[in-house]
Subunit: 292 residues, 2 copies
Amino acid sequence: MSFQHAALEELSRNHAFAGYIVKYKYKSKTLGDLSTQFNIFLPKEAESASVPVLYYLAGLTCTEDTGAWKGGFLRDAAEEGIALVFPDTSPRGANVPGEDDSWDFGTGAGFYLNATEPKFSKHYNMFSFITEELPEVLKSSGLPIDPHRQSIFGHSMGGHGAITLHLLKPGQYRSASAFSPILNPTQAPWGHKAFGGYLAGGTEEGKKWDATELISTAKGRRLNIRIDYGDADQFYQQKQLLPENFVAAARAAGFGEDDVQVQSHSGYDHSYYFISTFGREHIQHHAKYLKA
Amino acid sequence: MSFQHAALEELSRNHAFAGYIVKYKYKSKTLGDLSTQFNIFLPKEAESASVPVLYYLAGLTCTEDTGAWKGGFLRDAAEEGIALVFPDTSPRGANVPGEDDSWDFGTGAGFYLNATEPKFSKHYNMFSFITEELPEVLKSSGLPIDPHRQSIFGHSMGGHGAITLHLLKPGQYRSASAFSPILNPTQAPWGHKAFGGYLAGGTEEGKKWDATELISTAKGRRLNIRIDYGDADQFYQQKQLLPENFVAAARAAGFGEDDVQVQSHSGYDHSYYFISTFGREHIQHHAKYLKA
């Protein structure tokens, strides 16, 4: 697929960890010609060569800045020579009635799917945006990213995004990881609300975007998935995340702990304090595959 | 001095890097009986012993959360077994006319001094708050902090705070460091505005709170000061920081590079991307003295 796109507009550029983090803005075809922003961290190795890239998908209410500011990922990405891309979490300014009424639906809550409900389907296409348009925009803009070495990670709604995109696009990502992901959204309140709003077929159609439903379609693939969550996470306790369901489905599909690794951590919660604690291990997980 | 204070109210507690970051609120005598909030990171070593403590003073417009979220300091503090305290940057809710009109004066801009201008002097006493009341509150609340092992660091206005508090309180801090600090405020627009507003004697009285003016009073002390700034820092370029004046005064007072170390970094700016890049080295600088 080819995306005509306006040139990237550079909004800011900060020197960081001997590389640069740059914020860009451009008009996205996939998001219905809305402007979208993303941050990209380029390690110093990118001055002279194409580098591997790790996409970070943030959670509900977040923006392209949240992971860049609070995750603590740049330090380890710099050490490993890996680029980081931080997209936004939804289209902005679609003006769909009701899109700004909730913190867990609409703006800031795109759920990394392609909407089929007519009033959302023009703009709410974060799946195609992340997996197709954005990589092509990076490439055609001449950014020193190696399209053959991509991985993806995320938090909460963005963890759902990272795992489902990896399952839905065989061969695109070498590895996927997630902090506190929503892993079985067709069985959770957040998922019911998102799928009920974005999808013409509601929760039934949502099975196409549910990691626990999808994992069996990946039988025989090497997935390189790592997932961490905390047992003091209020959303885990409220059964929004449901990692147990995902683990059961993964094991039933023949994936062992060596390939789909899911760890619970005592006392940790849903916050960026948890994420930053385990960020280093996630970057190193991806580096192992991106630099193989 | 003894500060009667209401019990600390715990607002939140997050497990982080095997320790905890806790947000407290209490009514401060020094700040004119206003409620103030701070974050404290306690490494896992604090479960069984008193630990050294490093205070972080944030810059203009910031709060007790800014350094905790964006500095990336917890990881290294956890590795070194050091507590971090993140106070707010001013009193909140003093209701002094005009205190909310500017981003660089009043709320969020307390400048770590004690005001003498009558309309500010009841509440704007961040110097006594940081150096006297807060350490005593930590102690009397039973938090596992060793009062004999304290150091201090900060950013921009908070870097000014860290260096001046260290110079004004001999024996209190084992070391001080700063990112992009305001080092000669009596010669800079921010300082003129702050001292003109908070101090009855204006900029002339401000010399009492100016690191470049104060450094000669520290002759013969061992200071263990480290300062880093970027040459792409817009506020450095606007001559708000004036590190050269401080270096000249320090060298004239007999302080060598081994004791008062000031480094410029090519291409770095005033942002937390710069701070987080050098955070590890700052924590290690303090660890050397706090754990000696």
